[in-house]
Symmetry: C2
Subunit: 377 residues, 2 copies
């Protein structure tokens, strides 16, 4: 059994989705496909390139579907993730975090040799010099973007220092300066639309001023990349970005569902959930499921029950391997009862699983491996 996917035998079986070995990560295919289409159409309408972040899904099949729907390529957060995507045939990748360790630079150059369109961000001259030396040694130029810190302080260079770094990259023999990246991670989950809009536009103004300063010197920024699911409907208005990086829009999660869109609601649907089963029910008003800390990300609130439990029931973490379902008075759940829950935070939940179970009207239609799961190095 080990080494293959335990639920493979259920593919195509009528009502087979109800029989999955659990916990299982499940994609609601119609909702997922609508999300892919909605974002692609949104970007096309706004005249923006879409480059979805693959750190959300870590799955080559999903990357291929995003590209087929119009995306130019993908973003990857880590080198190991990008290597796996390149292995799977993805040819246009932007690495959105700096790559700094000496051995990682060797891997980066090998990747640059393997795919036609690799881009990587830089946020310091020290790193830019190291990349220049590595690209010279490798004998192939490397595309770079300057990562701007627009207030998150996680990666990126301060706006006032950015022009000097861009100038350095533009003048470096083996680097090709391609533009700017800015990600306002601190803005994505501001729940009210008006406040999120105001702060996002201010941050985008900063990015624009850096671009304007560079263009005055004759340094062009053909790629202006950034944004996320939380600002997808604000970014076009700023008229600064050429490229949107949203990731979570394909799945959505509890965190993003709490965020309010321009028209009151975000047009993306929840398309990802975890299916679990009751394995013990000896205590009144309590059922124990087979999904705990190892089956849901725990950096946000607990999972939100979606199906299989009576109104008023709630999930709580019951250790590494199990979850508890707190039931209203008089209610119980039988052994083997199947429940689903919306993930609190989709990206780190996905990172726990080896595969997606793709479900359409109760039928498991495919299993998609999550090839880049755990590729954080």
């Amino acid at each position: 059994m080990a080494g293959t996917f335990v639920n493979e035998a259920l593919i195509g079986k009528k009502d087979g989705a109800g029989e999955l070995a659990t916990p299982a990560l499940v994609i609601d295919l119609p909702a997922f496909e609508r999300n892919i289409k909605t974002m692609a159409e949104h970007c096309a309408r706004a005249g923006l390139t879409l480059r979805p972040h693959a750190k959300t899904h870590k799955c080559a099949e999903i990357a291929r579907r995003q590209i087929a729907a119009g995306a130019v390529g993908i973003c990857c957060a880590k080198l190991g993730e990008a290597e796996v995507m390149a292995d799977a045939g993805i040819e246009n990748i932007l690495l959105t975090s700096p790559v700094v360790l000496p051995r990682a630079l060797d891997r980066l150059m090998a990747l640059n040799d393997r795919i036609p369109d690799l881009h990587v961000v830089i946020d310091s001259e020290e790193n830019a010099r190291a990349l220049e030396a590595a690209a010279e040694k490798a004998g192939r130029p490397l595309n770079v973007l300057v990562d701007l810190d627009i207030g998150l302080h996680r990666t990126g260079i301060a706006p006032e220092a950015a022009p000097a770094l861009a100038r350095f990259a533009d003048g470096a023999k083996h680097l090709r300066f391609k533009g700017l990246q800015a990600y306002g991670g601190h803005l994505m989950h501001i729940e009210g639309f008006a406040e999120r809009r105001e702060k996002s536009l201010a941050a985008m103004d900063v990015m624009k001023s850096v671009k304007d300063a560079l263009e005055k010197e004759g340094i062009l920024c053909p790629i202006m990349t950034g944004g996320g699911t939380g600002t997808f409907d604000i970014d076009p208005e700023a008229n600064v970005l050429t490229e949107l990086q949203g990731g979570s829009y394909i799945f959505m999660d509890k965190q993003y569902n709490d965020v309010e869109g321009a028209n009151g609601n975000v047009p993306f649907e929840t398309a990802l959930y975890v299916q679990m089963s009751v394995i013990s029910n000896n205590t009144p008003r309590l059922a124990t499921t087979d999904a705990g800390f190892k089956s849901f990300a725990t950096d946000a609130e607990p999972p939100l029950l979606r199906s299989g439990a009576p109104e008023g029931a709630s999930y709580f973490f019951f250790g590494d391997e199990q979850g508890g379902i707190l039931l209203p008075k008089g209610e119980s759940l039988p052994l083997g009862a199947v429940l689903t829950a919306v993930t609190p935070h989709c990206d780190p939940t996905v990172n726990l699983y080896d595969a997606y179970h793709v479900v359409e009207e109760g039928v498991l239609t495919a299993i998609w491996p999550i090839e880049a799961r755990g590729r954080s190095a």
Copy 2:
């Protein structure tokens, strides 16, 4: 690069541990070996069988080392975990959670055919009847233990209902009743020793009373299994268990390090940590590392810095992919600086990684795959 372990080329290299692609999960081999030996000697001295819980490490090499040091076999939390361990040659496994889904029963019977010593717990007559039917159909008897609820209410049957279930199992043609399991998960992390001892002994008394009642009827309980790292020095005193299930003692973590032992200190050492590297440092008193929500369990407090950072520095989660190091005034960390941190909670942290990096005096001596990672179904 994908498909093999990215750090393999460093095995045996002088000071190679400092060059690991990060984030990387690292075992301090001497400390780990002392932990294995300390627990094995403790059990031998107390006349107890050791059956360590493999849900902590999910690694066949570690299971083999535990067995070589005297353990009778291992515990597994999930069927998928047990299947992987059986594939790797482990022949004596106790499944510590009930197995209830119909397709899972088929897999359980297949596993029972493959290894000589499989045991599984039951906590309801409904489940016992299903196992009896499955074992009859498979044509091979199944060893079962009755799981007792001693206060956690997660799995297990109430003590007053346990004798009837044991009687049913003992009388079932295709089940072999082997004894009782009780796990006081709610007791493991009580920080003060006196309180933990008092509550644990009371819980063990409950287990003993069920055993005594059964033995009066002539139903023997040769296996009395339970306990954990938090009560390893209390359980022998209770004189109820025949078998200890501790898991975390091999690695320890921040949670267990806060627990006080009988002699003031627990004799187990921290032997597991996460190595990470600084990838950005543009903001004063702040450095950004490459390890975030996808590299540490987040169900407990943040990771505790162990090496590489100045006194007074602390780690905070900086999103899915990164961590922040808050530095004392006047301090900074260079790009590429290597830090290590003690994991907040070892089990779910291990479940994020595909391999252990085994380090001895700065040398990476081996990479052990975590074969059962993610096998929660």
